[in-house]
Assembly symmetry: C2
Homo-oligomer: 310 residues x 2
C-alpha cells in the first residue's frame, strides 16, 4: 500500500517505520529530521526490538509525495490548522485518512473538508520520544485502538489488520468517541499534571500521595464527561487501570511534558480545552479539569515568553 506519513515525529516515524519494514511503500513528510534521515536513514530503538531503515523516502514538501492510498496524519494537534495544506497534495479519489493525533474533536475538524466516510483514527497507547535527528525511542507499550469517524467498524478492522501485519497490537473501537474519551482519561491527568506540577514525570506524580489522588480525580471527571457524552465507561475500573498501567511506565515523560521542556507549544487545547468545553456544555462539573486548563494554558504561554513575569 502506498502511504504518506504527514508529520513524521515520534509517532509518525515509529508507526510509519514499521509499516515500511512490513513492505509498504511509505513516504515521510519531515521537517526537523529530514536531512538526517536522508543521510543516515531512520533508527528506531524499541522495546520490541531495535531496527533501522535505509533509503527512507523522506520529503520536505508533500507535493513531492503525490496521491497515496492512505494518509497517516501524525501532526501535533497544535498544527491542525496546517493539516489541510499538507495533506491535499497526497489525496486521490480513494485516499483514506488515518489520524494519529492526541486530543478531542480531531476528526470533526478534518470532516469539514474531507469526506468523513474515509476518515479513520488510530489512538496510540505508546511511550515514545524523539532522540537525536533520525532516531526514535520506543520505550513501552504500542497498542493502537482504531476507530472510524462514522463508526464504520469494518473499515476500522481493515486498517487494524494493516497494523497487525506490521506487528502492532491492535484493537477496534465500536465507538470512536468512547475510544477518544478513554485515551483522555490517561492524557488529562498525566500529561497535564506533568506540566503543572513543575515539569515532572509520571513517576513523581505517582510517588506523591496528594498528586496521585488529583490524578484519580481528573480521571473520574473525564469519565463523567464521557458518560454524559453518551459513552458507557466503567469509571472505577478505568481509574484502577490507568493508575496501574502508569505505574509500569517508570519515569515516563508524556509528550506534553517533552514539548513543554522544549519550549514548544503544548497540546493544551486538544487534550484539555476541547474536552473541558464539551464537558461544560453537557453540564458536567469538571472543576479540576478547569483548574488544570487555566494553569497549563498559562504555563505554556509563560514558558514561551508570551507572558513576562513580574
Amino acid at each position: 500500500m502506498r502511504i504518506a506519513v504527514i508529520g513524521a515525529g515520534a509517532i509518525g516515524c515509529l508507526y510509519g517505520g514499521r509499516l515500511a519494514r512490513a513492505g509498504h511503500d511509505v513516504h515521510f513528510l519531515m521537517r526537523r529530521d529530514l536531512e538526517a534521515v536522508r543521510q543516515r536513514g531512520l533508527t528506531i530503538t524499541s522495546c520490541d526490538g531495535d531496527f533501522h531503515l535505509d533509503n527512507v523516502q523522506a520529503y520536505g514538501d508533500p507535493a513531492e509525495i503525490g496521491p497515496v492510498d492512505l494518509v497517516l496524519c501524525a501532526l501535533k494537534a497544535t498544527a491542525i490548522d496546517d493539516a489541510e495544506a499538507l495533506i491535499r497534495p497526497c489525496l486521490g479519489p480513494e485516499t483514506r485518512l488515518l489520524t494519529m493525533m492526541n486530543g478531542f474533536n480531531i476528526e470533526p475538524h478534518f470532516a469539514r473538508w474531507f469526506p468523513p466516510e474515509r476518515i479513520l483514527a488510530g489512538l496510540a497507547f505508546v511511550c515514545c520520544n524523539r532522540g537525536e535527528p533520525g532516531v526514535i525511542h520506543h520505550l513501552d507499550h504500542g497498542r493502537v485502538m482504531f476507530g472510524h469517524c462514522l463508526d464504520d467498524v469494518e473499515q476500522a478492522r481493515q486498517i487494524a489488520q494493516l497494523f497487525a501485519e506490521a506487528d502492532f497490537d491492535t484493537q477496534v473501537a465500536a465507538s470512536l468517541l468512547e475510544a477518544r474519551w478513554i485515551k483522555l482519561m490517561w492524557n488529562i491527568p498525566f500529561s497535564t499534571l506533568a506540566v503543572s506540577a513543575g515539569s515532572v514525570t509520571t513517576r513523581e506524580i505517582l510517588a506523591d500521595e496528594v498528586l496521585s489522588e488529583l490524578a484519580r480525580t481528573l480521571i473520574r471527571e473525564t469519565g463523567q464527561a464521557a458518560n454524559a457524552d453518551g459513552c458507557r465507561v466503567d469509571i472505577d475500573a478505568m481509574v484502577d487501570k490507568m493508575m496501574t498501567d502508569t505505574a509500569t511506565m517508570g519515569a515516563y515523560k508524556p509528550s506534553m511534558l517533552v514539548d513543554y521542556r522544549n519550549r514548544s507549544p503544548v497540546e493544551v487545547e486538544a487534550i484539555l480545552g476541547e474536552p473541558l468545553r464539551r464537558a461544560e456544555a453537557l453540564g458536567v462539573p469538571v472543576p479540576c479539569m478547569r483548574m488544570q486548563y487555566g494553569l497549563v494554558r498559562f504555563l505554556d504561554r509563560l514558558n514561551r515568553g508570551l507572558v513576562t513575569p513580574g
Copy 2:
C-alpha cells in the same frame, strides 16, 4: 508599653517599628537581620512615608528580652512549632500575645499552652517585603483587623487603639474566625496561584482571563467554607472586593511567592491545608482548593530539592 516582636521579618519590623516610633519600648527578636540592624538600625521605606530607627533593641535570644506586656508574634506559620520556646522567656503573668501570622487554626495552636483569654490576633492587609538586611519595603495598604481568640471585643479594641496611635488604619472583628476566613479569601487565590502559575505576581494573574476566573472560583470556594463554618460572608460582594483591591496592587509578590523564589518553605499548610481540611470536614465541595493544595505542596517540595524530577 513593653513589647517583644518575635520573628522580626517584614511584618514584625513594619508594625513593631511603627510602635517603637510611637514611643513604645519595643524589643525585636531577629535572625537574618540581627547584625545589620544592630549596626545601622532599621529602615522602613513606606508608602506612608519612609522612616529610620537608630538604636533598635535587637536580640538573637528571647531570654535577653525577658517578660513584656505584649508579645507580637510574627513568625512564619511554617515555624509555629518553634513559637513556644521563643515566646516563653518573654512571658509574665499579665502578658498578652498578639499573633500576626498568616493562615488558619493559628490561635487554637497557641491556646494549647497559652491562656486563650490573653490571645489576640492582628490580620494585616498589607503589601510589604524584606529588602537588604535592615531594610523593609512597605509598598501598599497596611490596615490591620484585630480580633480576640474568644471574641472579647473590648480587648481587641484596646489593641487596635495601640496600633491606631502608631498611625495604622485599624478595624475590630466581632468574630476572629470570620476575619481569618476573609483574609483567606485573598490569600488562597492569590498566594497560591502566584506559585502554581509558574511564579508570577498578582498582575499576571489578573491579566490572564482564565487564571483570574480561577481566582474568583477560589474566592467563592473559600467563602462557602467560611459560611459553612458559621460565618456570614457576602460572597459575591467579597469576590468583587478582592479582585478590585488586588488590581490596585500592581505587580505584587505575595509572601508565599517571595518564600518560593527564595526556596524557603511556603506556608502551604497554614494558608491552604488547614482551611481545606476544615472545609472538607464540614462537607463543603472545594475541588479547586484541593487541586491547588496538591500542586503547591508538591511544587514547594520540588523547589526545595525534596523531590528529584525525572
